[in-house]
Structures are given as C-alpha cells and as structure tokens.
C-alpha cells in the first residue's frame, strides 16, 4: 500500500476549509435524490448526518441497534459542548480553541482537521439553538457558558447536566422530521454485521434484525459509520452496555485502516468500582471539578471519616502539583495523578481505589443553593448509587474508561482508505490526538454530521453516478454467507460460560496491562494472554437459543468476540508507540517527576493498522504529522 494521503487542502490554516468548500465538486439538487446513503448509528454524529443529508435531498437509510434512534449513548453526555463564540469576552477565539484542542491532544492530531473543528464549532451552537435546544441562560436571556476541564476560558455551552441528551434530542427531532418527509428510512433494532466492498469501494452493509433475526443486504452509493467508540473493550467503562466496536471492526477486516487504537481516555471523575457484579461505571460530569477540590489524606491507610481529617492532613494533590490548572488539569493528568496517590496507599473507600472530590469550600463560598442549581442532578445520582450525601460528605471518585480517541483512519474528507466509506464522530480517529478535552466530543460529533460531511461527501459522489450495485452481486452474497457462518459458529460452541465471563476477563487484562499506564512488559504479557482467552471463548462460550429471533446472549457474544480481537490490536499499537503522550502513558517514558515524555522525533505520526487475515499480523502504515502552524511544545499544566 502506498503512503496515506490525508488530502489536506493547501494554503494558510485559516483558509483551508473555506477554499475546500469553494472548490469541492457539488451535486445538483436534481441529482442528490439519485444517491442513496447508508448511515450506521443514530447518535450525535449519525443523527445529524442522516438529517442533514436528507434535508439536502439525498435518500438516507439510517440504522441503529436500539429500539429508537433517541437511545444512542450520546444521550448520556453530561457536561457540555465547546464553541469558540467568545460570548464571554474572555479572550476566546477559533485559534485558541484550535490550539487548546491540539495541545490537549498532545500534538498527535492534524492541524487542518482540528482547526476546521474549532471553526465550525460556532455554527453548531446556532444550529442547536434554532432547533429549540434549551441551553442554560443568564437572567438577561443570553446563553450561559462555563469553563470546562483544562480550559482557561468559559466556552462551554450546556443544558444542566444533560447536554448530550438535549443535543441528541435536537438532532433526533430533525431526523424524525426527515423520516416523516420520507427522505430517511429508519431501521431500528438493526445491527450492522458486515461491510460490503465492491471493486474496492464500500457499497453496502449486511444487517441483522435484532427482533426477527432476519439477515438483510443493503446497497448504497456511500456508507457512513457513526457507531461510536470502543471503551467497552475494557468491560467496565462509562459507555452504555450496548456500545460496541462491531461495525468498525468488521470494516477493518474488510480493509479499512484502524488508527491509533491505543489512544484511550480514562475519565478522572467516575464513581469507584464496587464489586465484580458491576455492569458499568457511572461518570460524574467533569464540570464538578470546577467547584470541587480533589484530595486524599496525606497519611497512608488513613481510615478516618473525611470530615475528621483536619485541613493540614489533606493533600490537595492536583492543586499542589499543577498550581495553574489545579483541579481542572486535563483528564489524562488528573486520572494518572489519582492512580499515583492510590498506588501510594492513600486512596479512600473500599479497596483504597478512590479519591475525594470535596464541595465544602464551594458550598461555603457560594451557598448550597448555587451548588444545587449547578450540579443538583449529579448529586442526586451519586446519592442514589452510593447511598452517600455529597453535600455533607465528599464524593468518592476514581478514573474509568470513557472515550476512545483512536478509531478508523479518515482523511480530511472523513473518508477512510476504502473509497465510499466515511467514518464520523468517536468512531474515527481524527480530531483529538492522544487525549480529548472535555466538552469536545459533542462538538466533534455534531461538526462532522452537520457541517463537514455535507460538503465532503460530494467530492466522492461526483464520480459515482449510477454506480450503486445491486444486492444480488456476488460480493453481497459472500458477505451474507460470512455473517451467517459466524453467527452459526458462535451458536455451535455450546460451552458453559456466558460471554460476560470472557468480556470481564478481557476487561481486567486490558485495564491492568493497557490501561492508565502501560509498559513493554505488560503489553507483551497481554499479547500473550489475549489469544489464549479468545481461544477459550470460542471453545467455552454458551449461547442458549437460536439466531432466528431476539437473542441478547447472541448479540453480546458477537460483540465480545470482536472486542477480543480489537483488544489485541490496542496492545500491539501501544507496544509500538515507544513514548508517552496523552492517554497513552508508557512507564518507560517518563521524566524524573513522573510526567509523560513524548518523542516527536520518532513518533510524530498516526499509527494505522491494516488487517492481513486471521493468520498474519497486521501491517503498520504511518501518516506523518506535519506541524506547519504550531510548534509542538511540552504540555505543561503547572
């Protein structure tokens, strides 16, 4: 394979996107309706894409595995969405949002993509307000903003602690409008199980109806995946139970490159793990760090109740180590610091795996009412889960898997190396480098769906008139056969353990060996263990029932089987990247005071993997990152 071409338009950074839009081939209104587009996923990226493309006149088939497009996991995002509006007059600008994002990503993303993201962020807010999204307002009626994880300006728009819900419902309402207009055909309870490639172009998908078990073929002029991230490879994460990597993984196995799989984000403020029965971890919005102070006892194994530990015996370690950013230090740094103090034996709560997030000072300063106004629903949620009242006793928090920056490789057009396959939102690798800043996931999902793909899709489609294949083609038949064979082989194992058993084991393995801290040794161990676990899975998994009707155990097992392969690629990728950057912290590459040491000379590239079949190791293809406009500096939040 030849070198990867990211298709970044020439010219000054500020001009690239405008020039691209002015020169990209257009599809006329009369021709748009001749094109059929498949969108897989109905979260922020998928719903916004489906609605916008349909509005432009394309015919869209949108697929989601939920019973309704409104259930996608974007709905659970709490904190907010960034935009460089500078409504607060506090010095924000497109350049600053761009620079914060690229620096926050530890200089492992493309300048042009990130700049475009910062640019279109402004239009997203306009778009959402026009849909009726009830963003928080000031008394004068202006939009309210807050500062959010790692930002020194207040650029985050929010709707209480339910921003993701409100943005998704906005996109969902537009999607529904287009369903009513007949321009979107919605396929709910439908899981994509394979990508169909015809003459090296992505031209269709194979889908299983999760209620009837029926397998169907769908052809299109282009396939857009907006299927989210793969945090659930770790079993315990803040993702919903159903979040999975099956769509992107099957695309990878059909030839799409997987970029930076080891770039995973661990969120610092989640409710700690309680026991092995636990099905998922619950995130407490990072916005809590605006008013909460993070601390642990100075003494090891201090068993006193938090209120009995005097001020001078508390270690506000983030404020101590990072005076400029304090409790708002970026996610990777906050998470690792929490792990450090727990490793030292100063963690709190069951198993010593937790740190305090204390609101006492904020309540004294602002009053309980203000805190209630800002975080009421989060405090309620915390109390419901833990049985503890955070107004009187500090919350206990611990890092958990939350987001994956890695994903399918895409160029500036958001198209993968497979022509016709576009990948949007968390499912692609494009904008967050090695670490994502808070309130940037919603921004990226909507940027991709509302404002990028509607322009870039035309560049591909302009050469695709009349090329939509028939589903009777051999390629479709073979893909369907593969899907059926795989389902059958899962059902035929007839072992005695549930897929959850193996999923949990994989999760522990990845968390310990490829989690917050990785080393060559731990990764080699994981690379040794995962194939063994996979083998056991394929010999011992139990899936009662058949594939001919609703079978949740079959759905789960298929997803776990894919995670068992993806987990290995994550470790392989982490092993190759001999540096520490963002969420990827290799213990061999740290400074004397424990800070990450990046290696720009050797590793300033996107690490993409190409599938070479079951028996062979994937090959590595690099896309160098050229910094023309900013100078990669060492991240310093001190």
């Amino acid at each position: 394979m030849t070198a990867l071409d990211a298709k970044i338009p020439p010219g000054p950074l500020e001009e690239k996107w405008r020039r691209f839009k002015e020169n990209v081939p257009l599809i006329g209104p009369a021709n748009k309706r001749k094109f059929n587009i498949i969108v897989v996923g109905s979260g922020l990226a998928g719903a916004s894409t489906a609605a916008t493309l349909a509005e432009q006149g394309y015919h869209v088939d949108c697929f989601c595995f939920h019973d309704s497009p409104r259930r996608a996991h974007s709905i659970a995002a709490q904190g907010g969405i960034n935009a460089s509006k500078n409504y607060q007059n506090d010095g924000d600008s497109i350049w600053r949002l761009f620079y914060d994002t690229i620096k926050g990503g530890d200089f492992r993303s493309r300048e042009a993509n990130v700049y475009r993201l910062a640019e279109v962020s402004q239009s997203i807010i306009d778009q959402c307000v026009s849909q009726g999204v009830p963003f928080a307002r000031e008394y004068g009626g202006q939009l309210a903003n807050r500062s959010f994880g790692g930002a020194q300006v207040s650029r985050t728009f929010y709707a209480r602690g339910q921003t993701g819900q409100q943005l998704l419902l906005g996109a969902y309402s537009s999607l529904n409008h287009e369903i009513k207009n007949g321009r979107v055909t919605m396929h709910t309870n439908s899981e994509m199980l394979d990508l169909v490639v015809v003459e090296s172009h992505a031209k269709g998908i194979i889908v299983r109806n999760l209620i009837s078990g029926e397998i169907t073929r769908h052809a299109a002029d282009a396939v857009i995946l907006a299927t989210g991230g793969y945090s659930n490879a770790y079993y315990l994460s803040t993702n919903a139970r159903g979040c999975n990597a099956t769509a992107v993984w099957r695309a990878y196995k059909r030839g799409a490159l997987f970029a930076n799989p080891c770039f995973t984000q661990i969120h610092p403020t989640c409710i700690p793990v309680g026991g092995d029965y636990q099905a998922k971890l619950t995130l407490m919005s990072e916005s809590l760090r605006n008013d909460g102070r993070v601390w642990v006892p100075k003494k090891k194994g201090d068993q006193r109740a938090p209120q009995n530990i005097p001020e001078e015996e508390r270690d506000y370690y983030l404020e101590r180590k990072y005076p400029a950013y304090g409790n708002l230090a970026p996610r990777d740094i906050s998470s690792r610091s929490a792990k450090e103090v727990c490793d030292e034996g100063r963690g709190v709560g069951p198993g010593g795996l937790g740190v305090y997030l204390d609101f006492q000072d904020a309540i004294e300063r602002l009053g309980k009412e203000t805190i209630q106004e800002r975080y009421g629903n989060l405090f309620e949620m915390y109390e419901n889960i833990t049985g503890e009242n955070a107004y009187t006793r500090p919350m206990r928090i611990f890092p958990a898997l939350h987001y994956t920056m890695g994903g399918l490789w895409v160029d500036y057009h958001l198209m993968s190396n497979l022509p016709g396959l576009f990948v949007l939102g968390e499912a692609n690798f494009s904008d967050h480098g090695a670490n994502r800043l808070g309130a940037s996931a919603l921004m990226q999902g909507l940027a991709d769906g509302y404002f990028v793909i509607p322009y870039t899709l035309g560049a591909y489609l302009s050469s695709q008139f009349g090329k939509k294949p028939k589903t009777t083609l051999l390629e479709f038949e073979e893909a369907e056969k593969r899907v059926r064979a795989r389902l059958n082989s899962l059902l035929e194992v007839k072992g005695s353990l549930s897929s959850t058993h193996f999923h949990r084991e994989l999760g522990i393995l990845l968390w310990e060996k490829c989690g917050m801290e990785r080393s060559a040794r731990s990764l080699q161990e994981a690379l040794h263990e995962i194939p063994k676990l996979r083998k056991r899975f394929w010999n011992e998994v139990s899936i009662p029932g058949s594939g001919a009707s609703l079978n949740k155990a079959l759905e789960a097992a298929g997803r776990v089987a894919d995670f068992l392969e993806l987990g290995e690629l994550m470790c392989r990728d982490a092993l190759m990247r001999e540096e520490s950057c963002g969420g990827h912290f290799r213990s061999e590459y740290q400074s004397a005071d424990g800070e990450a040491v990046r290696n720009d000379e050797l590793f300033s590239f996107v690490q993409s993997w190409q599938y070479q079949g079951e028996e062979s190791e994937p090959t590595l293809i690099q896309e160098p990152l050229n910094y023309e406009f900013v100078h990669p500096s060492t991240r310093n939040y001190k």
Partner: protein
Amino acid sequence: MNFHLRIWRQADPEASGFFQEIEACDIPAEASFLEMLDIVNNRLIEEKKIPVAFDSDCREGICGTCSMVINGVPQGPGRGAACQVYMRSFKNGDSITIEPFRVKAFPIIKDLIVKRAAYDRIIQAGGFITEHTGGAPDAATTLISKKIADQAMDAAACIGCGACAAACPNSSAMLFVGAKVTHLSLMPQGQPERRERALAMVDAMDEEGFGNCSNYYACEAVCPASISASVIATLNREYVRATVIP
C-alpha cells in the same frame, strides 16, 4: 441477599405469557436491580437455559431504554428508571414481581421487552422545529429569559421511556406528548409551528391508540425524569388554542 422473583416470560409477540418463578440467590446489596438480573441471566446461560430478555442500555437513567414494571410500578420504586433501583431498597427474602409495560400501543416483543415505536411516530408527526442546517442566525440574536429556558428544560428532560403510559389506567401518553409540546411551545423558535404541532401530535397520539388523561396523576408519580403533570394542562391549552385560533 436472596430474592424470590416472579418474572413474566413470553417467547414472542403471539405467544401467551406466564409468570416464571426464579430464585435469585447471593445477590450483593450494592448491586443495582438490573445487575441482579444480569447475575440471574448469567446463571441461566451457564445452565444452558434461555435468559430473561430485558432492555437496558446506559444504566444511568437517561437513555430511557428500560421498560419493566417492578412490583406493579413502571420503572420500579423510587425516582429514576429501573436501572436506578438498588437491591438495598429491598428486604432479604422479598418476593419481587417483574413484568413488561402493559400498554396496547407498546406490543410485547419478548419477556420484558416492548416495542415503543409509537412514541417515535408521535414525534415524527410534529415534535420538531423545522429548520435548515447552516441557515441558522447567530445564537445570541434571540434572548430567552432564564425562567422560560428553565421551564422548557424541565419539560425537555423527558427520556421517552413510556412509563407514563404504562402507569396510566387509560394508557394515556399525554405526559410524553405534553412534555414535547410544552418544551417547543415555550421556545421562541417553536412559535411558527406551534399550532400545527399541537394538532398533529394529539392526532398521532390518538391514532396510536393511547387513551386520554382523566387526572389520575399516576404518570407524574412514576416519571423517572420528574416531568410535571402540568405539561398535560399545557397540552390541553395548546390544543384548544390551536382549534380556536386559525
């Protein structure tokens, strides 16, 4: 902890269902209700028996996928969806009855899973603001008072789970419809389609076979998103307004 479960089992929409008795033993008190069911299901799978089909996803109470009735209460005891119920709120040895939502417009698919596409279709009828991506004015041009924005947000918080209709003796969806109509009719952006929206959504609701509100307030009592029944009054006012004002 140990529990005696009576769970509704129904193989498919046409099958006649029945209550199956299942013992849930050695359940940690800290487990959530759905984690208890996970444990039960994993044991069933390992015994090569068909696990209980139930819907859930985010397990944070926001996605609205949960659709079960616990001891007669849609979404179970306490505030929040079924995923927010914890076993510590039960007593050791309790008998717990678990069944699906019983609403004609939400047909049972299997065990505890129901089909709620009717709610999507009601939104399709008018639960949106017609706009055009890229054509929006700057967000700062329209001021919305904090009071109005807060009221709109209160209504917009609906998670679309269907517990309101499941709790109502009339299987009324008016809390759900009222929430959306209230949200959008409060927003300045929602004004141009205000009339058509109220009419179309109420028509769609009737066509789906949901009943009318006769002031039981059962919906408000079970709503996991704490939607106030006052949205039903708003819906009625919006509907009347739409029928008398051309």
